[in-house]
Amino acid sequence: MDVLGLYNYWIVIVLMMTGFYVVISRGNLIKKVVGLNIFQTSVFILYISMGKIIGGTAPIVAPGVTVYSNPLPHVLILTAIVVGVATTALGLTLIVRIKEAFGTVEESEILQQRDDT
């Protein structure tokens, strides 16, 4: 089995697990958003590498070219990237408001304050 030939999947898996681990293990809300971004990026790479055909060019009709990469996954993931940007912006906005309301961005300290009140 050609393990190294599928290196793009290895990159995807490593990134995905890294991001997922950061989201789960870190108490700092900013780091959680960073983890979430890494997690989403792995999916972008999954889609982008899916559409690439080795030896194929950009899918624009030109004389003398017969092999094109599949543009659809790239277009799809452009949408997902925009969604990711929106999610990140919203997450960071919430963190700014949380910092103003609780005075901290550490999950453990926020939980403590919630118990007090």
């Binding site: 997922f20 989201v23 959680k32 996954p73 926020i110 919630r114």
Partner: protein, 493 residues
Amino acid sequence: MIAAHLPVLQIVVPLIAAPLCLLLRRGALAWGLALLASWAALAMSVLLLSQVLSDGPVSYALGDWAAPWGIEYRVDSINAFVLLIVSAVGAVILPYARRSVAHEIPAEQHSAFYTAFLLCLTGLLGVAITGDAFNLFVFLEISSLSSYVLIALGRDRRALTAAFQYLVMGTIGATFIVIGIGLLYMVTGTLNMADLAQRLPPLGQNRTVVVAFAFLTIGASLKLALFPLHYWLPNAYTYAPSAVTGFLAATATKVAVYILLRFFFTIFGPEFAIETLTLQHLLVPLAVIAILVCSTVAIFQDNIKRMLAYSSLAQIGYIVLGIGMASPTGLTAGIVHLFNHAMTKGGLFLALGCIFLRVGSVRLESMQGLGRTMPWTMFAFVLGGLSLIGVPLTVGFISKWYLVQAALEQDSWLLAALVLAGSLLAIIYVWRVVEVAYLRPPPAGAAAVREAPLSMLIPTWVLIGASIYFGVDTSLTVGVANKAAVMLLGGAP
């Protein structure tokens, strides 16, 4: 001409109203526009449902690009039903929202609130109507992002952390769904649901397909808050503004259940999901645990909004139990409970919003004597509670009747007993509220509490009234649910 374009207008009318709301700086104008858009959406979903019931599935090719290549909107009996639930709840909650939102949200944010509300409505309707797997993800994110905003508008500062928690969990769920869709695209080369349904069976137990199935199941389960992936839901419902809680509780999880149904039964097909991968061995135990554990946790809550949130988790358990049994009766029970629970829980949360407007708190101890000071609101609450328990003549009874029947069909006395045990637990948590509200006098020296305004009482009673009416006359709800169940199990899209 309009009839032919109904599927797209269903989405575009609330969508076009959203930016217009943003332009209208005055909150009252934005509210009026949102109200018009949501009523138009309701009218269109009623027309669509009647069209589907008389002529069969309706298909609409966006931009006139034919189905497997372009994005197709496809309406059949199951998603016409979900569209009706979502748009009906939206249309009922917007009249209610004006007073409630004016009370709970600063005036300068009103037009933004209605913009987000309309976007959320658009997203939920879009998830239900689309026949394209990736388009489903896009609409899901539109509805999710706007619901994070809506939750964060709650007055309590803990609304912010609840919204953030939901954002993290929701994004993971949605990303799992995209991974699943991507893997399906890899093996089949198509995103159209009907096309996927045709191309997947020949692949059999291809490993990529199985992995895609796993990702989609977990992603959808996160979104619908299936035990043990429910962690985000109680906080989000507790701290969101009252109108938002009512809307999300009645629609968001229902649409997530629809995603699950769509993927399991239409795309992968019952043979693959139930017979090959024996999904029922996963869903049924989780559903039963959700019913028992979450009902029990609900009993110990002093914040009634949180109590109802846990009760929602238990009700989701009933829905998933129905799906997990995968028989026509079980599936009918699950689908009809989508509608029934939307009406009941929507009405209950609206009643709580009325109490919050007048009393300023939804904690148990502040509800003393409300049976006398707010008789109409509390009576609505009691009727909704009876429906949660499953007393005859309410919609809760109908759902449980079919669930128990489905369990008995499979000779599973244990499941039937567990469903009834869930009802017993519901009696306890509903009774706690009734006892405090009716049997204790209003606290001495407290400010006089008036009945809620009519603009909030009427929407509350519309939903509670629906949960009584459809408990007596079940021809529409059970009829459609049964049709949808047969269609889903038949494997035909």
